[in-house]
Symmetry: C2
Subunit: 361 residues, 2 copies
């Protein structure tokens, strides 16, 4: 599945890519001088028009990255990937935009504005800062307070009809008008940086967000009067849940949250996660483990081990039958504890700054 030296693809991802014209990231990888490990390792596996961004990077020209957040529940490791990418892009000449989708949360989930704001501050922005994102030059905003985005969305709303929205999002007669409008507000989030300055915009997302990207590119194409550059996008794989399925905020057993404290129960969660181990220790010594099917190994690949050499060593030790799952999980837990302790400390100083940012909006 995923190794640090071989970019392979799942069949499902491949199908989606072919159907919707998403192109393999590995085809452009060699053009990037210093790719992020998520790129090198194929976690970021697809793109649209990423060449535009590479061109800006290589010519040291400015580009924009838009990455929205819809605060709902606690942040887990799956959410961290997007922040890692934003941090990576900050080494270049980039302007980052982070819309907080409080209007969408209101329309689609009935969340009131104050609650969304509180969650954005305490959970999301605090963690973004603690993870290392520099918010100084970042335009982080509440949708409900951003007039330029709201105004753009009202104009763009003319350029798409109900059938199209129904086709993309499955809206029905029961859907409230705000909810129907929400994707257009998101389109405006993505396109509005170009109102100020005509520059390429990148939207790094999970594959489930591609309908938004397609809608945005369609609307951009229809809006000759604005002369938009259709946004570029990258697609990253989803992290596997601890038990093998999806990592989900609403199922505590499947996820490790960024605010989890080192504890017996956390250790138990890690120690009982799905691995690529064999039925018996003896068999594993003989045949080796299967890191390609191992949640622990995926944690190393996605989050815990930035160094390719170190990662390859673990891979080899597993494959050769030298490393047993028990020891490996313990090692993983230790790395997680180290990470969480460090993050927790950084959150302490981040919290006030996060509050300040949102209260100044």
């Amino acid at each position: 599945m995923i190794t640090p030296w071989d970019v392979s693809e799942d069949v499902d991802y491949k199908k989606t890519m072919e159907k919707f014209g998403i192109r393999p990231f590995k085809d452009v990888l060699h053009k990037i001088e210093d790719p992020h490990y998520l790129m090198r390792r194929g976690v970021i596996f697809g793109h649209r028009d990423f060449e535009n961004i590479i061109k800006s990077i290589n010519e040291k020209k400015k580009f924009a990255v838009v990455s929205g957040m819809m605060p709902s529940g606690k942040m887990h490791f799956g959410h961290k990937m997007i922040v890692d990418q934003l941090i990576y892009y900050q080494r270049y000449n980039v302007k980052i935009y982070i819309p907080i989708a409080d209007l969408e949360a209101y329309w689609a989930r009935g969340m009131d504005f104050e609650k969304t704001k509180k969650l954005a501050i305490e959970e999301y922005i605090t963690n973004y800062i603690a993870l290392g994102l520099n918010l100084e030059d970042t335009d982080i905003y509440l949708q409900s307070k951003k007039d330029v985005v709201k105004d753009l969305s009202l104009k763009l709303a003319k350029r798409v009809n109900f059938s199209e929205m129904k086709g993309i999002y499955g809206f029905s007669g029961d859907t409230n008008i705000g909810h129907i409008f929400a994707p257009i507000l998101q389109v405006a989030d993505i396109l509005h940086p170009q109102l100020e300055e005509k520059l390429p915009v990148l939207v790094p997302v999970g594959i489930d967000q591609d309908p938004h990207i397609r809608l945005t590119r369609d609307i951009a194409g229809r809006s000759k009067d604005f002369n938009f550059i259709p946004p570029s996008s990258t697609y990253h794989r989803f992290i596997t849940g601890l038990l093998g399925g999806k990592m989900s905020s609403s199922k505590g057993d499947t996820a490790i949250f960024l605010s989890d404290k080192p504890s017996k129960s956390l250790k138990k969660k890690v120690m009982s996660c799905k691995t690529g181990g064999r039925e018996t220790l003896e068999e594993q010594r003989k045949l080796g483990g299967i890191p390609e099917e191992c949640v622990v190994y995926e944690f190393y690949v996605y989050h815990l081990i930035g160094d390719d050499k170190e990662l390859k060593e673990i891979y080899n030790k597993c494959k050769s039958g030298e490393l047993m799952c028990g020891a490996c999980k313990k090692h993983c837990y230790e790395k997680i504890v180290e990470f969480l302790n460090d993050l927790s400390e950084k959150r302490e100083s981040a919290r006030e700054y996060a509050k300040e940012i949102v209260n100044n909006m």
Copy 2:
């Protein structure tokens, strides 16, 4: 049909009133100390909750009137009625709001914003001022520029679903999302004055606008968090076109425009309009005319003769066979010329002020 002393009803109007719970205006007429002639004469024939406005008037308390305009083509006498009503309410403690529906014109008719603005200034606002409306304390605004209204509409959009909008407005899959959103923006136009100050709001409209009023009252009722007073409304009859059908901007023969110049062709238009005359002069001398079916008489009632005594005299002379249609039409034309000349002169000084108002928005 319509006489200055007897408030009768058309069957169609009556049906609509019964179906949708609009109440007869004549039932509240006696509570108004100094009613407008359009009220006295039954041109304003129905209402919802007008008692709230009467209460404010009699207690000298403040109320609001909201009356939107969607500039499209030239203003004719049919459009004048609403301005007459606004002028009437200015004798009381009123705050008038006039939204210019440039967003709706964009969504529903593809009119660009600059064109709508130009038409609003040159045709509508200039005529409003020339007709005698005082815009000093009036909040006249472009929808596209009014943040408080846009923000309110985005919130209210959660409170109505697509089926309801489809049921009221007949929207289909082809309808663009802006157009679907437009009525909610209008709801926000009507309700937003209450965000500042909790006061009764009146919306004087033609009966065709009642679906908007019902939607507004429904949404107000669902928005307990805002504690809105459901808006009051009045309903006026449509003026009949010169040829007997609808008065329409797009059919020049049916309408007299406020910018029409006295001319042979205008005279011809008036002289050939539909009257309540008999087949022959002889017959008319014997039986009298039928003012109830006469467009000329309607012009007197709606626009040209404010004094009830003068109007009654004409009515009687017609009924008795003393007044023939030719002379009556000539008299009507003279009154129209007088009116148009006066208005044209007033427009000269109004034009600059109108421009100033909109450019300061």
